[in-house]
């Protein structure tokens, strides 16, 4: 309790700095600019489809099934993609059998799809924008000398920064969801909270085990998505935090984190034959895939596995951060 009393004013300091530095506002601004663009693009796509299928989603879904079935016969389609498509076909059929539109337009559905797409790169990038800066900016600006000559132990200072970072991770994810919903609602309407979404597809090779499939209201689905993305973001934040401790310059630490994340995205798309890549953290960022029943990029990855890998990475980077920060000489 006493330690908490010591830490709290420090967290307050860091929070005020974070807000006053306007990093958080920049992230909100990025969202406010980009989300309408995504929403508009999707609106146009929806209009295109309406020309073909009218408002009849069942025909649209059936056509998607047929198209995918056709591509299964083609030799030019790589085997992994076929696996994706087979699973996709089975899921779509399940939706049709239960007469549920998997892509009901609406602000809530948009948010759900946006979260799925943003989970591995977009949101981690936002998190990184805050995290890479939190320690290195003090060193770039020289204010670290002012911080560390206070009668406060170094680990407390670092801990207060970590706590602040985690606070903002939560804020960023919640604001992403809110901004997404509020803006896309302008385009698609604000309904769709209770629309059923199926989850619980268990993958056994190319076969989908439907025994566990159940419908959840869409809001609940988004709730789960956000929780998984939150976990991923915490790990990304911990890594960005470590880089921020290790690298003196803010821009260098942003570049390092960005390169890692993008490399992860590229690897996810092509690493299926390099199986030990599954121990890399950046391949495991797609936790929401397990919710949607999309196959993992590499054979043998499960939710438990990904959580374990991410946790190990996260803890390791925190250990490194604290060891280095408390021991390091401030030379510049």
């Amino acid at each position: 309790m006493k330690a908490l009393n010591n830490i709290l004013p420090l967290v307050k300091n860091e929070t005020i700095k974070m807000i006053k530095k306007k990093r958080f506002y920049v992230i909100l601004l990025v969202l406010l600019v980009l989300v309408p663009m995504f929403a508009y693009a999707q609106l146009r796509q929806a209009e295109d489809k309406r020309e073909k299928f009218g408002t009849d989603w069942r025909r649209e879904v059936q056509q998607a099934i047929t198209d995918n079935q056709n591509s299964l016969g083609s030799d030019r389609v790589p085997e992994e993609w076929k696996k994706y498509r087979q699973i996709y076909i089975q899921q779509m059929k399940y939706y049709l059998e239960h007469d549920v539109n998997p892509r009901e337009p609406g602000g809530v559905s948009f948010t759900r799809e946006f979260l799925d797409n943003a989970a591995t790169l977009f949101i981690p990038l936002l998190i990184m924008g805050v995290g890479s800066d939190i320690v290195s900016s003090e060193r770039t600006g020289g204010t670290v000398k002012m911080l560390l000559t206070r009668p406060v132990r170094r680990w407390k200072i670092l801990l207060s920064k970590l706590v602040t970072l985690l606070m903002f991770v939560s804020l960023i994810i919640v604001s992403t969801c809110l901004i997404c919903y509020l803006i896309s609602g302008l385009f698609f309407g604000y309904r769709g909270w209770n629309m059923p979404v199926f989850t619980g597809f268990q993958l056994r090779g190319v076969e989908v085990d439907l025994s566990g499939v159940h419908a959840v209201p869409q809001w609940q689905y988004i709730f789960m998505q956000a929780g998984l993305i939150w976990f991923v973001s915490i790990i990304v934040a911990a890594l960005a935090f470590m880089v921020s401790v290790l690298v003196r310059s803010t821009s260098a630490s942003i570049v390092i984190m960005m390169a890692t994340l993008i490399a992860g995205n590229i690897l996810t798309n092509m690493a299926s034959s390099w199986t030990s890549a599954k121990y890399l953290f950046m391949v495991n960022l797609g936790l929401t895939n397990y919710l949607a029943g999309t196959p993992a990029p590499i054979e043998g990855m499960t939710l438990g596995f990904s959580l374990l890998v991410l946790t190990v990475w996260g803890i390791a980077s925190l250990v490194v951060s604290f060891l280095v920060f408390t021991k390091q000489d401030i030379l510049n």
């Binding site: 300091n13 020289g142 000398k145 132990r153 000489d329």
Partner: protein, 328 residues
Amino acid sequence: MAARQPIHDEQHHPVLKVQGLKKKIGRKWIVHEVNFEVYAGEIFGFLGPNGAGKTTTIRMLVDLIRPTEGQVHICGYDVLREPERALRCVGSIVENPEVYGYLTGRENLEHFARMIPGIDARRIEEVTQLVGLTGRIDDKVKTYSLGMRQRLGIAQALLGRPKLLILDEPTNGLDPKGIKEMRGFIRRLAEEGMAVFVSSHLLSEIQLLCDRVAIIGRGRVLAVGKVDELIQANRSYVVWELEPREPGERLLRSAAGVSVVNDAGSVLDDTIMAGIRGQAIVTQMQPELIPGLVQGLVQEGVRVEAVQKVNPTLEQLFLEMTEGESIE
């Protein structure tokens, strides 16, 4: 000046005690061996050229750098073992006063105040007034001039009512008026009983400000002592203007305890040289010998037009101690 009576008898505990401080970075010893003590109420100068290990030493005092060997005690607490207690007694500015430009002066002070237990809004008001920033305290720091930043830096250093104030090059970047104000300000703090540790590469600065000084060169403390004592310990320079010059110079060269300096320009300050005519002879000798020499010169028919005693500057001290290593 009477109130500022530096106390450094051995019974009195030093506020800052540095023993056998050494630092090795990579394979290089940046600081070889530094020992000194600073007592309450005195202004202690830390003089050395850039690259002599001054900044590294200062950083070791405030726990920014971990010494390879040796100890630093502040108010009796070991900085390494009890950093929280030791640093509670210190206010410092290491190098430039780097504060958060995107915060206002007050927000900066509030920020640092939260890191020290028991500092309230009233104290912030006090230090603001003390450094004379009251009018601008609610402006963003990025709009401040260097002098105002320096004052804000001092304000944050004073927040915790420190017993020891560490200022690294405090007059850097200030205009002459600002430098004068700063000196007055530091003296007042020392008069109130604070121990002030001032580093500088400017000799005049230390001479004008400090009671005692440690001179550091190449990572070693070359001398510690009262500024006056260090000057006394060295022989003074005496400048002669004689007519006729030749026999006078011959006489001075032959006198015991007197050495004529051939290249006066290299040992004396430009300011002193400016006041000396080109014909002058510069000697190094004990001042007590002057009356006897004058008598001898007059007896030989040499007219003594002027005799001037010149105290050595710290630069000369430094030159003598390091045997030629120069200060930039």
